[in-house]
Symmetry: C2
Subunit: 200 residues, 2 copies
């Protein structure tokens, strides 16, 4: 919790961080549709024009929120990756981290993967996306080097893996598949991704 002084100073101190934190809580509790700059300002106790100092418009706030999401996701994937593990459990670990993030941050995940318009934010976002993809890319490259994954452009193979996991994460995040069901079937999902749907 944030300390709430009796009499608020004229300058907030770190309004930018407060806006992002409050916005993410609203996103989690009431969804993206409930996000309003004026309400955010009201909750923080600042004038409705104050957010304009830190974000040039509402989209800039949403872009910043998406960026923090990708940074946290990248961190979670890097923490979850254990390069010493055999291929299948190593991939299952990454998959679990991704799906876990999706379930815990469903509304944020939607925002992260929504079509962006502002080209300013795109550069930073792209870098952050690359960092997340990097964990999968390293796993694929390592496994290819050991002959445990089929040869071919590692970016392409990574896309196949990422699409499979992102599809499941999106289904879990939007409620198409219950979160528990997605998590319970995750190891089997990863197995099918590695071994294919055709019998061996």
């Amino acid at each position: 919790m944030v300390r709430m002084p009796e009499s608020r100073p004229y300058h907030h101190g770190d309004l930018r961080a407060a806006l992002l934190a409050t916005a993410e809580r609203t996103l989690r509790d009431r969804g993206a549709g409930a996000l309003s700059l004026r309400e955010l300002a009201r909750e923080i106790g600042v004038s409705h024009a104050a957010p304009g100092r830190h974000f040039k418009d509402k989209q800039a706030l949403l872009d910043a929120l998406a960026l923090t999401g990708f940074e946290r996701l990248a961190g979670a994937l890097e923490s979850a990756d254990d390069p010493g593990l055999p291929l299948e459990p190593r991939l299952a670990g990454l998959a679990k981290a991704y799906l876990g993030f999706a379930v815990e941050n469903a509304a944020l995940l939607e925002l992260m993967f929504t079509r962006k318009h502002d080209p300013d934010a795109s550069a930073q976002l792209a870098a952050s996306v690359d960092r997340s993809v990097g964990s999968f890319l390293r796993l694929v490259a390592d496994a290819q080097a050991r002959g445990e994954i089929v040869a071919g452009d590692p970016e392409r193979i990574t896309l196949v893996a990422a699409a499979s996991l992102h599809g499941l994460a999106a289904f879990a995040a939007n409620g198409s598949v219950p979160a528990e069901q997605a998590l319970a079937g995750l190891d089997e999902h990863v197995h099918h991704l590695l071994h294919g749907l055709k019998p061996r």
Copy 2:
């Protein structure tokens, strides 16, 4: 183009259909953020309160839009399915239809897979989703009967296939992957889905 009479009658005739059609064009041209009931009414030439007769609120309009999307997608998948084909080209055909729909209706696809709130719309939507999933489910069941797809709960296997294709479709729709690249690599994607990422 719609015929525009010099003097508009008091009753529009089919305002509901006009709202849906105009909304979808706006969605396609300018994205979901640009959708406003008042602007829709203005474009159609009706008072701003008129949409309220046909949709209880904005979310109801969005739900109806999503429903038409799923109906069209289901139709496209059914048209694309050729049960006489061998497994891999048959699945590739369905995949191409899905990805084609995603690329041609990117903003609508996002709307279709966004978290819905209104439980009224959910029942109809669920039926429409089931119809779309049905094409994949039949393919899986047929292939399992021939021993061409691994045994196991067909719903689960279908989820693995659907997640893989939906992930790719979502990446193509939101611009993470260029549409041409996704389409160009589709056959290979389907091959990896069926044969797995591990060497055989």
